[in-house]
Symmetry: C2
Subunit: 427 residues, 2 copies
């Protein structure tokens, strides 16, 4: 896979282009170049980070027992504790895979077919899609299992030692560049009676997801760019669907087919894993929009305050329903709250950075944040969330074999001890 | 240097942390893990791009003869022809160096001293700076020699075959995270009578730049983050000065010292290279703000239109004086103009993406764009620029030994030939 390539190999592939440019430069500067004691071109062709920066995605592997022997899922979580601003570098964007490595697609060969209940079924090459007017939009993605007790990487929420990467690392935010899905649906001509689309990926497992046509015609994007360059393989290179504000599973990667239909298709990931079971044995199906949520990223679990004095409490807030309108921060376990400052830009269905100045007096403190979105929805406490769903807090502690709780947007408390250590307090 | 490390080595450095997390995950999923047929963790620790994506910075080396035998400069240009949206990936951000490779700094050892005409000279560690309230701001950087005839990489503007990377690749745009400089100047207490700061880098050559105190107190930033992660070494890791809208040379990298003074210091880069010589033998000194500028990035030099029909003409516009208010596009060499659509966000002193739908009829066309900023300043043609400075167009063709024209913001025409090839028409 591409991840294995060294920068050196990458450079060699571009050797011809570089060589021809260098030759031109030499001729235009009259041979006044020094060949020695100058940096070699490959050092700067495609830069790397400092060797002193060590943040990595962390993940683990889990077998989902629902389809015996067939599925090996993995999740890699983004290091939110060191996040800055609201953009996640592509190299650190979270990954969820239901058992398949990214396909090794040459973008020149990739095609998207749109068919079904349409007047003119069409196949688009990526070049044809790129000729259309492009848009760039800032949006978060979040796995519906993020922060859940029974997440893909086990149950980090239940560990005192959990970091914010463990508890909330299955969300990231990027600038996505592509073409509005409505534009292509307009070209094929959606027929009367159509009410859903079914999107299908190119990977071995052909992940398939049903999405209401109303959403598809609203703000969905066919994205080929992320943060100013082509999508990364793990994010769906060369083309993915973006379904802003909805569960990550909708955002089909390596997108190759959109089938316009008049009902949901009950594909594997919408019938076996993603409905949230209830205690009465039934499930909530086709949950989609992610609720208002926030988390303090600094100070957060596993970090250590060095001394008493000034700190900025900072974190991320987001909502699948719209823009973040307000973030409150409490340093006393929720007894009192202060409005945090929201940093610009505040974009609907995107991460929003908040900050609050705080002087630590050396005593124990309980830090937490609460998000309110522009729909007026407020992030709940764990107790409120439990009450809302008519089950007690233990509901969320059932093992993954019996309950795959999704859309878990509880307030996250971090405990600062007198020795300055910070630990997970949502137990 | 860091650029030489393989992802594998990087992973090994983090082996301990990953191993301990994986162990936790295993214990919480009751040993139900498959060790075989699953991705190895290092593939996903810090992702790489697809092996089918080959954009690289290109550059060349030049000897500046002003200081005999001493300076070996190099510039690496960003591949604007494939840019998407307005964010430049850190790996592809342009680089200018006046003869020195990035110093290999461990951020834990780095310090910033602020002294001179201040009440309380102070030394800040990077950790102390990071404890302060942070801001994230979108800003372009541009080398003052970008697009000039006498650029660091020779004279690409004069080549028919020049690409937009050759002609305009010395500008990039990032989200910079850091602390407003005013905050630290407030802590040290600037004394009455002070009117300039002198900023100094940590590299071998100790690049030094005088900046008016008024600008320093306005919107300058001490940046430690770029696009959501730590600065890259080539961009000043771990700390750089950001002087929004001003010539790139002001944005001192690897920043270690700020000296508050009452006059400019006539440092090497402000006395020997950056004043723009005039034909009468005098020079313009301390030019700073970059003028309104734009360029079409697609279609652009070296590209090939595949067939007649629909294309989006798209590009970037920016101004050191403020926000882009309007971009007009002409497809007939400037006889008629149409307003392009500006994409959100439109941020002062940042790149702004514009687009205009165009149907190519197969005939020769001359594409160009013109930026107007919110100060009402309009990007000039080459002829207007020449007239403004009281010299003819040949002025800009003098070799680098005699004229180092900076702030060259002429309109850039691209010629589309009947065979669909696109070439540089600013000759």
């Amino acid at each position: 896979m591409s991840s294995k390539r060294s920068p050196r190999r990458q450079f060699l592939k571009n050797g011809a282009a570089l060589a021809s440019f260098a030759a031109g430069a030499i001729s235009s500067s009259s041979g006044k170049l020094f060949a020695a004691d100058v940096p070699s071109a490959d050092l700067h062709a495609y830069g790397q980070r400092s060797r002193f920066e060590n943040d990595v995605r962390i993940g683990s592997l889990a077998l989902w027992p629902i389809v015996p022997g067939a599925r090996r899922d993995y999740g890699f979580r983004s290091p939110l504790q060191d996040s800055m601003g609201i953009i996640t570098p592509a190299s650190l964007h979270f990954i969820i895979s239901h058992g398949h490595e990214p396909p090794d697609i040459d973008s020149r060969d990739h095609q998207l077919m749109i068919h079904g209940m349409v007047d003119r079924p069409l196949i688009f090459t990526l070049d044809e899609i790129k000729r259309l007017p492009s848009v760039s939009r800032l949006h978060f993605l979040e796995c519906h299992g993020n922060s859940a007790a029974a997440g893909i990487t086990g149950e980090p929420r239940k560990l005192t030692s959990a970091t914010v990467q463990d508890t909330h690392g299955l969300t990231s935010c990027s600038v996505w560049t592509g073409v509005p899905l409505t534009l292509l649906l307009g070209q094929v001509g959606v027929q009367k009676g159509a009410s859903w689309i079914v999107a299908e990926g190119s990977e071995t497992g052909r992940h398939t997801k049903s999405i209401p046509l109303e959403k598809a015609m609203d703000d969905c994007l066919l994205a080929y760019g992320q943060n100013g360059e082509a999508l990364r393989p793990e994010q769906g290179y060369p083309l993915r669907l973006l379904v802003p504000g909805w569960q990550g599973i909708n955002n089909v990667k390596w997108l190759r087919r959109i089938y316009v239909v008049d009902q949901p298709y009950m594909a594997m990931m919408e019938s076996t894993k993603y409905p949230s079971p209830r205690l009465d044995g039934k499930s909530r199906w086709f949950e989609s929009e992610m609720g208002p949520k926030s988390v303090i990223t600094r100070p957060s679990g596993g970090q250590q305050l060095g001394s008493r004095g000034f700190y900025e409490i900072t974190g991320l807030a987001w909502s699948g329903g719209g823009a973040v309108r307000r973030v409150e921060v409490s340093v006393d376990g929720g007894r009192t709250w202060k409005d945090a400052q929201l940093q610009q830009p505040i974009v609907p269905k995107a991460h929003t950075r908040f900050g609050l100045s705080w002087t630590w007096n050396g005593e124990e403190a309980m830090l937490q944040s609460r998000c309110t979105d522009d729909q007026g929805h407020v992030q709940p406490t764990l107790a409120e969330l439990s009450k809302y769903w008519g089950v007690d807090a233990d509901y969320f502690r059932l093992p993954p074999t019996t309950a795959d709780m999704g859309n878990f947007n509880s307030i996250q408390p971090w405990k600062v001890s007198r020795d300055g250590s910070v630990s997970n307090a949502l137990l």
